[in-house]
Protein backbone atom coordinates (compact mmCIF):
# COMPACT_ATOMS: atom_id res chain seq x y z
CA UNK A 1 0.00 0.00 0.00
CA UNK A 2 1.20 3.36 -0.84
CA UNK A 3 2.00 5.99 1.75
CA UNK A 4 -0.33 8.52 0.13
CA UNK A 5 -3.30 6.13 0.50
CA UNK A 6 -2.49 5.57 4.14
CA UNK A 7 -2.39 9.22 4.95
CA UNK A 8 -5.73 9.73 3.22
CA UNK A 9 -7.58 6.96 5.08
CA UNK A 10 -9.63 7.30 8.34
CA UNK A 11 -8.03 6.62 11.84
CA UNK A 12 -9.68 3.18 12.30
CA UNK A 13 -8.73 2.13 8.84
CA UNK A 14 -5.26 3.45 9.56
CA UNK A 15 -4.89 1.08 12.45
CA UNK A 16 -6.06 -1.93 10.42
CA UNK A 17 -3.72 -1.05 7.68
CA UNK A 18 -0.70 -0.69 9.97
CA UNK A 19 -1.45 -4.03 11.53
CA UNK A 20 -1.62 -5.65 8.13
CA UNK A 21 1.68 -4.14 7.07
CA UNK A 22 3.73 -4.94 10.14
CA UNK A 23 5.62 -8.26 10.32
CA UNK A 24 4.91 -10.80 13.12
CA UNK A 25 8.38 -10.12 14.71
CA UNK A 26 7.48 -6.47 15.10
CA UNK A 27 4.28 -7.21 17.09
CA UNK A 28 4.59 -6.71 21.00
CA UNK A 29 4.68 -9.95 23.01
CA UNK A 30 1.66 -10.50 25.34
CA UNK A 31 2.51 -11.51 29.01
CA UNK A 32 1.39 -15.00 30.02
CA UNK A 33 0.39 -15.42 33.84
CA UNK A 34 2.98 -17.23 35.96
CA UNK A 35 1.80 -20.39 37.80
CA UNK A 36 3.22 -21.55 41.19
CA UNK A 37 5.05 -24.87 41.14
CA UNK A 38 2.93 -27.60 42.64
CA UNK A 39 4.14 -28.85 46.07
CA UNK A 40 3.59 -32.44 46.90
CA UNK A 41 2.77 -32.33 50.64
CA UNK A 42 3.03 -36.07 51.03
CA UNK A 43 6.52 -36.06 49.60
CA UNK A 44 7.52 -33.13 51.75
CA UNK A 45 6.28 -34.81 54.95
CA UNK A 46 7.91 -38.09 54.07
CA UNK A 47 11.15 -36.21 53.38
CA UNK A 48 10.97 -34.53 56.78
CA UNK A 49 10.26 -37.82 58.52
CA UNK A 50 13.11 -39.46 56.60
CA UNK A 51 15.50 -36.67 57.54
CA UNK A 52 14.34 -36.93 61.13
CA UNK A 53 14.92 -40.68 61.13
CA UNK A 54 18.41 -40.23 59.72
CA UNK A 55 19.37 -37.95 62.60
CA UNK A 56 22.05 -39.39 64.86
CA UNK A 57 20.23 -38.67 68.12
CA UNK A 58 16.46 -38.50 67.56
CA UNK A 59 15.43 -39.28 71.13
CA UNK A 60 16.92 -36.24 72.83
CA UNK A 61 15.39 -34.07 70.11
CA UNK A 62 11.98 -35.65 70.74
CA UNK A 63 12.39 -35.04 74.43
CA UNK A 64 13.51 -31.44 73.97
CA UNK A 65 10.63 -30.79 71.56
CA UNK A 66 8.17 -32.31 73.99
CA UNK A 67 9.53 -30.35 76.95
CA UNK A 68 9.52 -27.06 75.07
CA UNK A 69 5.99 -27.66 73.81
CA UNK A 70 4.81 -28.60 77.32
CA UNK A 71 6.35 -25.44 78.77
CA UNK A 72 4.81 -23.33 76.02
CA UNK A 73 1.35 -24.84 76.46
CA UNK A 74 1.58 -24.58 80.24
CA UNK A 75 2.60 -20.92 80.04
CA UNK A 76 -0.23 -20.31 77.59
CA UNK A 77 -2.73 -21.94 79.95
CA UNK A 78 -1.39 -19.89 82.85
CA UNK A 79 -1.68 -16.70 80.85
CA UNK A 80 -5.20 -17.57 79.83
CA UNK A 81 -6.21 -18.37 83.37
CA UNK A 82 -4.72 -15.14 84.77
CA UNK A 83 -6.36 -12.97 82.14
CA UNK A 84 -9.53 -11.67 83.65
CA UNK A 85 -12.55 -11.37 81.46
CA UNK A 86 -13.41 -7.83 80.48
CA UNK A 87 -16.48 -6.56 82.22
CA UNK A 88 -19.16 -6.64 79.64
CA UNK A 89 -21.46 -3.71 79.50
CA UNK A 90 -24.61 -4.73 81.27
CA UNK A 91 -27.68 -4.60 79.23
CA UNK A 92 -30.32 -3.85 81.76
CA UNK A 93 -33.84 -4.24 80.70
CA UNK A 94 -36.11 -2.08 82.73
CA UNK A 95 -39.37 -3.75 83.37
CA UNK A 96 -42.05 -1.27 84.10
CA UNK A 97 -44.74 -2.72 86.27
CA UNK A 98 -47.94 -0.81 86.11
CA UNK A 99 -49.14 -1.94 89.53
CA UNK A 100 -47.55 -0.29 92.63
CA UNK A 101 -44.73 -2.47 94.08
CA UNK A 102 -45.30 -3.92 97.54
CA UNK A 103 -42.76 -2.72 100.16
CA UNK A 104 -40.38 -5.40 101.45
CA UNK A 105 -41.34 -6.54 104.94
CA UNK A 106 -37.93 -6.36 106.65
CA UNK A 107 -39.27 -7.05 110.11
CA UNK A 108 -40.90 -10.28 108.96
CA UNK A 109 -37.72 -11.34 107.16
CA UNK A 110 -35.63 -10.70 110.26
CA UNK A 111 -37.94 -12.74 112.45
CA UNK A 112 -37.94 -15.58 109.93
CA UNK A 113 -34.15 -15.52 109.93
CA UNK A 114 -33.98 -15.59 113.71
CA UNK A 115 -36.41 -18.51 113.88
CA UNK A 116 -34.33 -20.40 111.34
CA UNK A 117 -31.13 -19.86 113.38
CA UNK A 118 -32.89 -20.91 116.57
CA UNK A 119 -34.30 -24.06 114.91
CA UNK A 120 -30.80 -25.07 113.81
CA UNK A 121 -29.56 -24.56 117.36
CA UNK A 122 -32.33 -26.81 118.66
CA UNK A 123 -31.42 -29.54 116.17
CA UNK A 124 -27.77 -29.54 117.22
CA UNK A 125 -28.57 -29.38 120.94
CA UNK A 126 -27.93 -33.07 121.63
CA UNK A 127 -25.15 -33.80 119.19
CA UNK A 128 -22.76 -31.08 120.37
CA UNK A 129 -21.14 -32.79 123.34
CA UNK A 130 -21.40 -36.38 122.16
CA UNK A 131 -17.85 -36.39 120.84
CA UNK A 132 -16.12 -35.52 124.12
CA UNK A 133 -16.59 -38.68 126.12
CA UNK A 134 -13.49 -39.38 128.20
CA UNK A 135 -11.18 -41.75 126.26
CA UNK A 136 -10.71 -45.32 127.46
CA UNK A 137 -7.00 -46.01 127.75
CA UNK A 138 -5.16 -49.21 128.62
CA UNK A 139 -2.68 -48.26 131.33
CA UNK A 140 -2.17 -51.66 132.91
CA UNK A 141 1.47 -51.77 131.90
CA UNK A 142 3.25 -54.71 133.51
CA UNK A 143 5.72 -57.32 132.35
CA UNK A 144 5.38 -59.99 135.05
Amino acid sequence: MKKAELEKSQPMEKQILTEENTSPEELPKTKTPKTLPKVDIKNLLSNIILKFKNLKKPKPIVLITLTVSIILVFVAILLLSTRQPKPQPQTTVKIVIPTPSTPKDEELDNIKKEISIFSNELISLDSQLNSIEFPKIDLDINFD
Binding site: F74, I111, I115, L122, F143
Partner: protein, 300 residues
Protein backbone atom coordinates in the same frame (compact mmCIF):
# COMPACT_ATOMS: atom_id res chain seq x y z
CA UNK B 1 9.90 -56.03 68.30
CA UNK B 2 7.20 -55.37 70.74
CA UNK B 3 4.29 -53.57 69.23
CA UNK B 4 3.64 -51.46 72.29
CA UNK B 5 7.04 -50.60 73.66
CA UNK B 6 9.04 -50.55 70.44
CA UNK B 7 11.83 -52.53 72.10
CA UNK B 8 13.40 -55.69 70.87
CA UNK B 9 12.78 -58.77 72.96
CA UNK B 10 16.46 -58.87 73.95
CA UNK B 11 16.48 -55.32 75.22
CA UNK B 12 13.08 -55.52 76.78
CA UNK B 13 14.01 -57.64 79.78
CA UNK B 14 16.92 -55.49 80.85
CA UNK B 15 15.97 -51.97 79.89
CA UNK B 16 12.24 -51.84 80.40
CA UNK B 17 12.75 -52.37 84.10
CA UNK B 18 14.90 -49.25 84.36
CA UNK B 19 12.62 -46.66 82.81
CA UNK B 20 9.60 -48.34 81.28
CA UNK B 21 7.48 -45.23 80.93
CA UNK B 22 10.29 -43.20 79.37
CA UNK B 23 11.01 -45.95 76.86
CA UNK B 24 7.38 -46.45 76.06
CA UNK B 25 7.02 -42.77 75.23
CA UNK B 26 10.26 -42.33 73.31
CA UNK B 27 10.26 -45.55 71.36
CA UNK B 28 6.62 -45.73 70.57
CA UNK B 29 5.74 -45.00 66.99
CA UNK B 30 2.16 -44.53 67.95
CA UNK B 31 1.55 -40.83 68.13
CA UNK B 32 -1.42 -41.42 70.44
CA UNK B 33 0.88 -42.71 73.19
CA UNK B 34 2.99 -39.58 72.95
CA UNK B 35 -0.08 -37.39 72.95
CA UNK B 36 -1.41 -39.10 76.07
CA UNK B 37 1.96 -38.69 77.75
CA UNK B 38 2.03 -34.99 76.94
CA UNK B 39 -1.52 -34.56 78.21
CA UNK B 40 -0.72 -36.36 81.45
CA UNK B 41 2.39 -34.26 82.01
CA UNK B 42 0.34 -31.14 81.38
CA UNK B 43 -2.53 -32.14 83.60
CA UNK B 44 -0.37 -33.27 86.52
CA UNK B 45 0.79 -29.82 87.72
CA UNK B 46 -2.65 -28.34 87.16
CA UNK B 47 -4.34 -31.09 89.15
CA UNK B 48 -1.69 -30.89 91.85
CA UNK B 49 -2.04 -27.12 92.22
CA UNK B 50 -5.83 -27.32 92.32
CA UNK B 51 -5.67 -30.08 94.93
CA UNK B 52 -3.33 -28.02 97.09
CA UNK B 53 -5.53 -24.95 96.87
CA UNK B 54 -8.63 -27.05 97.60
CA UNK B 55 -7.01 -28.71 100.61
CA UNK B 56 -5.66 -25.44 101.99
CA UNK B 57 -9.09 -23.86 101.70
CA UNK B 58 -10.55 -26.78 103.65
CA UNK B 59 -7.95 -26.41 106.39
CA UNK B 60 -8.32 -22.63 106.47
CA UNK B 61 -12.12 -22.93 106.54
CA UNK B 62 -12.13 -25.10 109.67
CA UNK B 63 -13.13 -23.62 113.01
CA UNK B 64 -10.84 -24.22 116.04
CA UNK B 65 -13.44 -26.65 117.40
CA UNK B 66 -13.57 -28.69 114.19
CA UNK B 67 -9.79 -28.71 113.98
CA UNK B 68 -9.57 -29.97 117.58
CA UNK B 69 -12.10 -32.72 116.78
CA UNK B 70 -10.11 -33.81 113.74
CA UNK B 71 -6.75 -33.80 115.58
CA UNK B 72 -8.20 -35.85 118.42
CA UNK B 73 -9.75 -38.36 116.03
CA UNK B 74 -6.44 -38.79 114.16
CA UNK B 75 -4.57 -39.28 117.43
CA UNK B 76 -7.02 -42.01 118.48
CA UNK B 77 -6.10 -43.95 115.33
CA UNK B 78 -2.40 -43.41 115.97
CA UNK B 79 -2.75 -44.59 119.57
CA UNK B 80 -4.46 -47.81 118.47
CA UNK B 81 -1.51 -48.58 116.18
CA UNK B 82 1.07 -47.99 118.92
CA UNK B 83 -1.03 -50.04 121.35
CA UNK B 84 -0.95 -53.01 118.98
CA UNK B 85 2.81 -52.67 118.61
CA UNK B 86 3.17 -52.54 122.40
CA UNK B 87 1.04 -55.68 122.88
CA UNK B 88 3.14 -57.60 120.31
CA UNK B 89 6.43 -56.45 121.84
CA UNK B 90 5.19 -57.32 125.33
CA UNK B 91 4.15 -60.79 124.19
CA UNK B 92 7.55 -61.39 122.56
CA UNK B 93 9.39 -60.26 125.66
CA UNK B 94 7.30 -62.48 127.94
CA UNK B 95 7.93 -65.45 125.62
CA UNK B 96 11.68 -65.08 124.97
CA UNK B 97 12.92 -62.95 127.88
CA UNK B 98 15.92 -61.93 125.77
CA UNK B 99 17.71 -58.55 125.96
CA UNK B 100 16.65 -57.72 122.41
CA UNK B 101 13.02 -58.51 123.17
CA UNK B 102 13.23 -56.43 126.35
CA UNK B 103 14.72 -53.49 124.45
CA UNK B 104 12.00 -53.77 121.83
CA UNK B 105 9.33 -53.92 124.56
CA UNK B 106 10.87 -50.83 126.16
CA UNK B 107 10.85 -48.87 122.86
CA UNK B 108 7.27 -49.86 121.99
CA UNK B 109 5.92 -49.24 125.51
CA UNK B 110 7.64 -45.86 125.69
CA UNK B 111 6.18 -44.89 122.34
CA UNK B 112 2.72 -46.07 123.41
CA UNK B 113 2.82 -44.08 126.67
CA UNK B 114 4.07 -41.03 124.79
CA UNK B 115 1.10 -41.30 122.45
CA UNK B 116 -1.28 -41.75 125.42
CA UNK B 117 -0.11 -38.39 126.78
CA UNK B 118 -0.45 -36.89 123.32
CA UNK B 119 -4.03 -38.14 123.13
CA UNK B 120 -4.86 -36.72 126.55
CA UNK B 121 -3.38 -33.35 125.56
CA UNK B 122 -5.50 -33.25 122.42
CA UNK B 123 -8.57 -34.40 124.36
CA UNK B 124 -8.14 -31.56 126.86
CA UNK B 125 -7.69 -29.12 123.97
CA UNK B 126 -10.97 -30.39 122.51
CA UNK B 127 -12.80 -29.80 125.80
CA UNK B 128 -11.24 -26.33 125.93
CA UNK B 129 -12.49 -25.64 122.39
CA UNK B 130 -16.01 -26.59 123.45
CA UNK B 131 -15.69 -24.27 126.42
CA UNK B 132 -14.49 -21.41 124.21
CA UNK B 133 -17.34 -22.07 121.81
CA UNK B 134 -20.07 -22.02 124.47
CA UNK B 135 -22.17 -18.97 125.27
CA UNK B 136 -21.50 -18.31 128.96
CA UNK B 137 -23.41 -15.03 129.17
CA UNK B 138 -26.74 -16.64 130.13
CA UNK B 139 -25.14 -18.69 132.89
CA UNK B 140 -23.78 -18.24 136.39
CA UNK B 141 -20.99 -20.73 135.74
CA UNK B 142 -17.52 -19.30 135.35
CA UNK B 143 -15.70 -20.00 132.10
CA UNK B 144 -12.33 -19.09 133.65
CA UNK B 145 -12.83 -21.60 136.44
CA UNK B 146 -13.43 -24.43 133.95
CA UNK B 147 -10.52 -23.38 131.76
CA UNK B 148 -8.18 -23.27 134.77
CA UNK B 149 -9.09 -26.87 135.60
CA UNK B 150 -8.38 -27.89 132.02
CA UNK B 151 -5.03 -26.07 132.18
CA UNK B 152 -4.04 -27.82 135.42
CA UNK B 153 -4.78 -31.21 133.90
CA UNK B 154 -2.89 -30.31 130.74
CA UNK B 155 0.15 -29.35 132.80
CA UNK B 156 0.08 -32.70 134.60
CA UNK B 157 -0.08 -34.58 131.28
CA UNK B 158 2.76 -32.61 129.70
CA UNK B 159 4.94 -33.17 132.82
CA UNK B 160 4.16 -36.87 132.64
CA UNK B 161 5.09 -36.96 128.97
CA UNK B 162 8.45 -35.36 129.78
CA UNK B 163 9.08 -38.09 132.35
CA UNK B 164 8.23 -40.78 129.79
CA UNK B 165 10.61 -39.22 127.27
CA UNK B 166 13.43 -39.24 129.84
CA UNK B 167 12.94 -42.93 130.77
CA UNK B 168 15.77 -45.27 129.75
CA UNK B 169 14.67 -48.67 131.08
CA UNK B 170 11.56 -50.80 130.88
CA UNK B 171 11.35 -50.87 134.68
CA UNK B 172 10.83 -47.09 134.82
CA UNK B 173 7.80 -47.22 132.55
CA UNK B 174 5.55 -49.42 134.70
CA UNK B 175 5.34 -47.01 137.70
CA UNK B 176 4.97 -44.04 135.33
CA UNK B 177 1.97 -45.72 133.70
CA UNK B 178 0.55 -46.46 137.14
CA UNK B 179 0.95 -42.80 138.18
CA UNK B 180 -0.95 -41.65 135.13
CA UNK B 181 -3.71 -44.20 135.65
CA UNK B 182 -4.21 -43.12 139.26
CA UNK B 183 -4.25 -39.44 138.34
CA UNK B 184 -6.75 -39.99 135.52
CA UNK B 185 -9.08 -41.97 137.79
CA UNK B 186 -8.89 -39.64 140.78
CA UNK B 187 -8.55 -36.24 139.16
CA UNK B 188 -8.72 -35.80 135.38
CA UNK B 189 -11.70 -38.04 134.61
CA UNK B 190 -14.04 -36.76 137.40
CA UNK B 191 -13.05 -33.12 136.87
CA UNK B 192 -13.51 -33.27 133.11
CA UNK B 193 -16.82 -35.13 133.55
CA UNK B 194 -18.03 -32.28 135.69
CA UNK B 195 -16.89 -29.76 133.07
CA UNK B 196 -18.78 -31.67 130.36
CA UNK B 197 -21.94 -31.54 132.49
CA UNK B 198 -21.32 -27.82 133.07
CA UNK B 199 -20.98 -27.22 129.33
CA UNK B 200 -24.20 -29.13 128.69
CA UNK B 201 -26.08 -27.00 131.23
CA UNK B 202 -24.55 -23.78 129.89
CA UNK B 203 -25.73 -24.71 126.42
CA UNK B 204 -29.28 -25.39 127.63
CA UNK B 205 -29.36 -22.15 129.63
CA UNK B 206 -28.22 -20.21 126.58
CA UNK B 207 -30.85 -21.85 124.36
CA UNK B 208 -33.53 -21.23 127.00
CA UNK B 209 -32.57 -17.55 127.11
CA UNK B 210 -32.78 -17.32 123.32
CA UNK B 211 -36.18 -19.01 123.40
CA UNK B 212 -37.48 -16.43 125.88
CA UNK B 213 -36.23 -13.53 123.76
CA UNK B 214 -37.49 -14.95 120.49
CA UNK B 215 -40.93 -15.90 121.83
CA UNK B 216 -41.37 -12.37 123.23
CA UNK B 217 -40.41 -10.87 119.87
CA UNK B 218 -42.64 -13.16 117.84
CA UNK B 219 -45.49 -12.52 120.25
CA UNK B 220 -45.16 -8.75 119.86
CA UNK B 221 -44.88 -8.96 116.09
CA UNK B 222 -47.81 -11.33 115.63
CA UNK B 223 -50.06 -9.42 118.08
CA UNK B 224 -49.63 -6.24 116.01
CA UNK B 225 -50.54 -7.93 112.74
CA UNK B 226 -52.90 -10.77 113.46
CA UNK B 227 -56.49 -10.50 112.27
CA UNK B 228 -59.28 -10.37 114.79
CA UNK B 229 -60.50 -13.84 113.69
CA UNK B 230 -57.20 -15.40 114.75
CA UNK B 231 -56.91 -13.73 118.17
CA UNK B 232 -57.81 -16.94 120.00
CA UNK B 233 -55.04 -18.73 118.09
CA UNK B 234 -52.53 -16.20 119.38
CA UNK B 235 -53.77 -16.63 122.95
CA UNK B 236 -53.35 -20.40 122.72
CA UNK B 237 -49.89 -19.95 121.22
CA UNK B 238 -48.97 -17.64 124.09
CA UNK B 239 -50.11 -20.16 126.68
CA UNK B 240 -48.16 -22.91 124.90
CA UNK B 241 -44.92 -20.89 124.85
CA UNK B 242 -45.45 -19.92 128.50
CA UNK B 243 -45.83 -23.62 129.29
CA UNK B 244 -42.56 -24.47 127.57
CA UNK B 245 -40.81 -21.63 129.35
CA UNK B 246 -42.07 -22.73 132.75
CA UNK B 247 -41.26 -26.41 132.28
CA UNK B 248 -37.79 -25.61 130.94
CA UNK B 249 -37.07 -23.36 133.88
CA UNK B 250 -38.31 -26.00 136.37
CA UNK B 251 -36.07 -28.59 134.75
CA UNK B 252 -33.13 -26.21 134.79
CA UNK B 253 -33.66 -25.61 138.50
CA UNK B 254 -33.62 -29.37 139.06
CA UNK B 255 -30.49 -29.60 136.95
CA UNK B 256 -28.70 -27.04 139.10
CA UNK B 257 -29.77 -28.85 142.27
CA UNK B 258 -28.44 -32.10 140.87
CA UNK B 259 -25.23 -30.43 139.74
CA UNK B 260 -24.34 -29.31 143.26
CA UNK B 261 -24.22 -32.98 144.27
CA UNK B 262 -21.48 -33.76 141.73
CA UNK B 263 -18.17 -34.09 143.53
CA UNK B 264 -14.65 -33.84 142.16
CA UNK B 265 -13.81 -37.44 142.94
CA UNK B 266 -13.91 -40.76 141.11
CA UNK B 267 -17.44 -41.53 142.32
CA UNK B 268 -19.10 -38.64 140.52
CA UNK B 269 -20.02 -40.60 137.39
CA UNK B 270 -23.50 -41.58 138.59
CA UNK B 271 -24.42 -38.07 139.75
CA UNK B 272 -23.07 -36.56 136.53
CA UNK B 273 -25.25 -38.96 134.52
CA UNK B 274 -28.31 -38.06 136.63
CA UNK B 275 -27.73 -34.35 136.04
CA UNK B 276 -27.39 -34.89 132.29
CA UNK B 277 -30.65 -36.82 132.31
CA UNK B 278 -32.60 -33.95 133.87
CA UNK B 279 -30.89 -31.51 131.56
CA UNK B 280 -32.08 -33.57 128.60
CA UNK B 281 -35.66 -33.09 129.78
CA UNK B 282 -35.12 -29.34 129.66
CA UNK B 283 -33.71 -29.66 126.15
CA UNK B 284 -36.63 -31.78 125.00
CA UNK B 285 -39.02 -29.16 126.31
CA UNK B 286 -37.25 -26.46 124.31
CA UNK B 287 -37.35 -28.56 121.15
CA UNK B 288 -41.16 -28.41 121.20
CA UNK B 289 -40.93 -24.72 120.31
CA UNK B 290 -39.48 -25.39 116.87
CA UNK B 291 -42.79 -26.14 115.17
CA UNK B 292 -44.62 -23.62 117.31
CA UNK B 293 -42.70 -20.63 115.92
CA UNK B 294 -43.05 -21.74 112.31
CA UNK B 295 -46.79 -22.33 112.82
CA UNK B 296 -47.38 -18.82 114.13
CA UNK B 297 -45.69 -17.15 111.18
CA UNK B 298 -48.01 -18.95 108.79
CA UNK B 299 -51.02 -17.38 110.47
CA UNK B 300 -50.00 -13.81 109.58
Amino acid sequence: MDAYTGLSRVNQGAKIKLMPIYRLIVNSKLSIVKSIAVLLVLLAPLTFSSLISHHSSLVLGQSPLELSKENYSLQLTKLNDTHEAYITAKSNYLSFKSATAKNDAFIKTKEYLHQVDELLTLYLKLVRSFSDNANWQSSNFSKEEQNNIIQEESTFVSDHQAKIDKATTLEELTPLAKDLKTHLEESTNPRINKIIVTLDIVQTQSTSEKFNQLSARVNEFVASRIKADNKSLLINWQSETANIKEKTQNNLNLVLQSFTKIKDDRNNLYQAAQTLKVNKQAKDELKKSKDLFEEMLKVI
